[in-house]
């Protein structure tokens, strides 16, 4: 089981309670689709993803970004059992959505960059380490049920 210090818990809690999901969610997914264009393969039903401009203004992308970011709330509320918390979502991503789990890391890297951009120097190395640890645990849990 993953161990979290009191300091780490409070860092994670602070980041998320000050996050504007409606801003950061879309930004993270948009960035992922632009920086790692092969990730667009999962969103053929989203319409126009032909260029960066189209992706940045696509309402379906924005909505999905918000949804995905809220998906992290589950981990927030269950820090001591993230693996079990995401079991169902892991099955979904594997059996229904057929998402290559490597993509979870790509999105998580983009989310880190977007949060870093938002917080600036307040995103200290220590905070970065804790945030990345949190995302790594979620990413691992999401990949757990693949077979």
């Amino acid at each position: 089981m993953v161990e979290w210090s009191e300091n780490e818990r409070s860092i994670i809690s602070n980041i998320f309670s000050n996050l504007d999901y409606n801003d950061i969610g879309p930004k993270a997914l948009v960035r992922c689709l632009i920086v790692y264009p092969w990730t667009q393969r999962y969103f053929t039903s989203f319409g126009n993803l032909y260029n960066a401009e189209a992706i940045s203004t696509n309402p379906k992308v924005a909505a999905h970004g918000i949804k995905v970011l809220h998906g992290l709330d589950r981990a927030l509320k269950n820090m001591d059992n993230i693996k079990a918390t995401y079991a169902e979502l892991s099955v979904l991503h594997s059996e229904k959505l057929h998402v290559d789990p490597d993509n979870f890391k790509l999105l998580s890297d983009c989310l880190t960059i977007v949060v870093a951009g938002k917080l600036g120097s307040a995103f200290t190395p220590e905070i970065q380490a804790t945030f990345q640890k949190f995302l790594a645990v979620v990413v691992s849990a999401l990949g757990k049920q693949y077979h």
Binding site: R31, A52, S56, A116, P125
Partner: protein, 143 residues
């Protein structure tokens, strides 16, 4: 995934804008790498102080930044311009090349914190590709 003419243009333009702070960028990136990926500290056991603001960390960051600036100027021949450094990393330092990716990620995070407006998705992608190309050039002499 090779660097297109457009990628090179974007990298040169962005680096020109930020190179005034190159030393800080390098130092901050190395500091983050050591904090966020503690396994990287194993390569620096000869430093007395591995804290973010320590002299060896800042100095090393400066070296990394200077290399990047040089590489940007020689972007059409990365393998050639990094040959000596590749030999150094391969035969003397023997740094596992997986770590180049780690340092690259931290460089990108630093750029995001320092230049949130200029570090757009397009710039992010071009730089990600450039740093990957740098890493490949650094790995050339490994085996």
């Amino acid at each position: 995934m090779s660097l297109s003419a457009k990628d090179k243009e974007i990298v040169k333009a962005f680096w020109a804008k930020v190179s005034g702070r190159a030393d800080n960028i390098g130092g901050d990136a190395v500091a983050r790498m050591l904090t966020v990926y503690p396994q990287t500290k194993t390569y620096f056991s000869h430093w007395k102080d591995l804290s973010p603001s320590s002299a060896p960390v800042r100095k090393h960051g400066g070296m990394v930044a200077a290399t990047i600036t040089d590489a940007v100027n020689k972007i059409d021949d990365l393998a050639g311009s990094l040959l000596t450094l590749s030999e150094l990393h391969a035969f003397t330092l023997r740094v596992d090349p997986a770590n180049f990716k780690i340092l690259a990620q931290n460089i990108l995070v630093v750029l995001a914190t320092m230049f949130p407006v200029d570090f757009t998705s397009e710039v992010h992608m071009a730089l990600d590709k450039f740093l990957a190309a740098l890493a490949r050039a650094l790995s050339v002499k490994y085996r």
